[in-house]
């Protein structure tokens, strides 16, 4: 065992650091600093730079456009991205449908879809949840009925993140109504411009428009856009869920979040001392930091396991649970730190507002972010479901 990076790894770290410093878009930086919402173009500008460099999909196999990096290199990469406070890339194509397509798709599907995911030309969204089925994914009711070379899809999806921008969506639909629960589900790729697809915004507690309802009325989807076998879509879904849970630990991003809290706590006053000198506030930071270290080394141990041949297994539920709790605690601490200035609400419903916010720059998004981040323990399989998974799959009870 050893913790140190090899000389090659240190050189790689330097390369990454330089690349980010020289290529990260300046205007993106200022949008972030002022706490504004990012537009589709904001996200895509950084995506395209990475795509051009060939670094957009480090986790993919090289043959499909991956980088061929070791687990340690990927670790360095995410550390450096977080340290430089870069915006994340959208996971729906790169971390979700992409791996499903290169794992389960036909050669034609790979050729058709992977390039657009890598380049950013296709923006993807995920059609999983339904109003009646939250954590109970398998109870979904959206139906696809075969009609010649098409499926005709009818139903309603919800919590569809960023669907307002999406060119394509991957959907779980029921293709056999008689089969029960997880049987009879298929995995379809749907062009969001197809007639019958309607996207309606859902406004969340902080006033954000991130998620949507997607209505599907007699939407015709070519059979060639089904991934894997008919009625076997659950296989793709399970595979994808395990992948999603790993990313969801968000260690590097949370590290950056803790650093921001520290900066706020050094600025905010608590009586005649800076807030960080308040032993209880300081303790909350140290608890966060230590819990984050525990999560980080648990992820590293899990990556080491993967490197030695094991795929991401049900232990990844641990990363999801702890990672999401930490993300929530960070936002909770930020809200606590800003005191009275957590209250002002300065934002229209879904529209930007160019006036200068009330209170310090770091304050005005604290409450909305706190409210919004409640979602992390709910989505991607709620933390209750994750505990059920560990109980069943790891502990065997």
């Amino acid at each position: 065992m050893q913790l140190e990076f090899s000389p090659e790894e240190i050189a790689f770290q330097q390369e990454v650091r330089t690349f980010i410093a020289e290529n990260y878009p300046e205007n993106l930086r200022s949008v972030q600093d002022e706490g504004h919402d990012l537009s589709k173009e904001d996200f895509l500008s950084w995506h395209r730079i990475l795509a051009k460099k060939g670094w957009i999909a480090p986790a993919w196999p090289v043959e499909y456009g991956g980088t061929g990096w070791t687990a340690t290199q990927r670790f360095i990469w995410s550390e450096e991205l977080a340290a430089a406070d870069c915006v994340g890339t959208m996971p729906f194509g790169l971390s979700m449908v992409g791996p499903v397509i290169y794992t389960f798709g036909t050669p034609e599907q790979k050729a058709r879809f992977l390039p657009g995911i890598l380049s950013g030309d296709d923006w993807w969204c995920q059609g999983y949840s339904e109003p009646g089925a939250g954590s109970d994914l398998a109870s979904l009711r959206t139906k696809a009925v075969r009609d010649g070379d098409d499926y005709v899809v009818n139903g309603q999806k919800t919590w569809t993140t960023m669907a307002q921008y999406a060119d394509w969506g991957f959907f779980l639909v029921r293709t056999d109504s008689d089969a029960k629960a997880q049987e009879g589900i298929s995995f379809l790729l749907i062009d969001m411009k197809t007639p019958g697809v309607t996207v309606r915004p859902i406004i969340t507690l902080g006033g954000e428009h991130e998620v949507n309802e997607v209505w599907l009325e007699d939407v015709r989807v070519p059979v060639e856009n089904r991934v894997y076998e008919e009625n076997k879509g659950w296989t793709c879904a399970k595979f994808l869920l395990a992948h999603e849970r790993t990313g969801i630990a968000a260690v590097a991003r949370s590290k950056r979040g803790v650093e921001k809290i520290k900066a706020i706590a050094r600025t905010e006053q608590d009586g005649d001392r800076p807030l960080i000198a308040n032993p209880f506030f300081k303790r909350k930071i140290s608890e966060l930091e230590i819990d984050l270290t525990a999560l980080e080394f648990t992820e590293l141990r899990s990556l080491a396991g993967e490197a030695s041949g094991k795929g991401p297994g049900p232990e990844s539920s641990l990363l999801k649970i702890k990672g999401s709790e930490i993300q929530q605690r960070i936002t909770e601490l930020a809200l606590e730190a800003v005191g009275h200035y957590g209250a002002p609400y300065f934002r229209g419903f879904g529209e930007g507002d160019n006036e200068h916010p009330i209170g310090p720059d770091y304050a005005h998004r604290a409450a909305p972010t706190y409210f919004n981040t409640r979602k992390t323990t709910i989505y991607g399989g709620s933390n209750e479901i994750q505990r059920n998974i560990i109980a069943k799959m790891v502990l065997g009870i």
């Binding site: 109870s139 406004i203 608590d270 009586g271 209250a343 002002p344 409210f371 933390n383 209750e384």
Partner: protein, 379 residues
Amino acid sequence: MDFSYTETQDMIRETLSRFLADTYDFDSRNKMIASDSGRDPGIWKALAQDLGMLGAAFSEEHGGLGGGHLENALIMEELGKVIAIEPYLQTVVLGGGALKAVGGAIADAVIPEIIGGNVIIAFAYAEPQGRYNLANIRTTAKKDGAGYVLNGHKGVVYAAPWATHLLVSARTGGSGSEANGVSLFLIDANTAGIVRRDYPTVDGFQASEVYFENVAIPGDALLGDEGAGLPLIERIVDEATVAVCAEACGVTAKLHSGTLEYARQRNQFGQPISRFQVLQHRMVDMFMDVEQSKSMTTMATLKLDLPAAERMAAVSACKAKVSRAAKLVGQNAIQTHGGIGITQELAIGHFFKRATMIESQFGSADHHYERFERLTLAD
């Protein structure tokens, strides 16, 4: 010892509860908040004139019903149950509380106007650098002939956009967080030199940054003795803190009952989620926190007229516990609802937002644990 309410108190609760059920459903509340002024002034008028509710906590000689802290508490609890955005806390509890404490001509003049619904008071006490320290004040009130001249900046003044009067803490002497030199003024909100920047708050109220730029106010705006206002401020803030705890009892009770109701209806994996033991126990924990919040609020309400040290310890014990309960109940209400809980579409999320703001209003749990320890746990 006696824990029962009087008939009058029961009547107040019933009357108010019925009125709010009629006027303050979720849609109506959304409409008020979305309106230009951010409220429906008719509600306030009705509370005053149709229900006589604004006089519940004032003496009969001022035209009230002769009540006090208990009446404030039960009114705030009912307001909490509909997350009402009425300025009762600011006008009656804080403003009225200060006036009752100082008495005299200003009380005789203003209290009847409060009861009549003609006066709305906003409490301008917090400053950007001061956090929850009531004495950390940079706003100055400089003697100028018979009057004073105010200069300074007060932050996040709830209800200021609606206010006819501002209750303002300022320094007539001293500096930093010194106790001496703090004075309290009740001034006309339209006095020249007062500049406001108004905004909505995340919990549905309206508030302002209030800037005083050489604001000339009369000498009789001073409440109590010059430079000796801190104990008065501490007292009314304690009263307001308990009132907010009472509001929290209403808010968390609704978060809990709403969650129960949802869990009974929502099916997952072939059964109502209320059948899952983990969720059952969570709802039991929420129940216990709601009950204990009520217990602490009762305790603190009954101790508000004790000597300052005992009063402060009781209030801090109450707020520390209620703040934590508001967090636990709010977070678990959302978690149990799942995705739908974090949309604007359901009332539950709005109760959660108010519960969240209550956590830190007049001091976070940590702030109050620390004050409790200073008062009761000497080394």
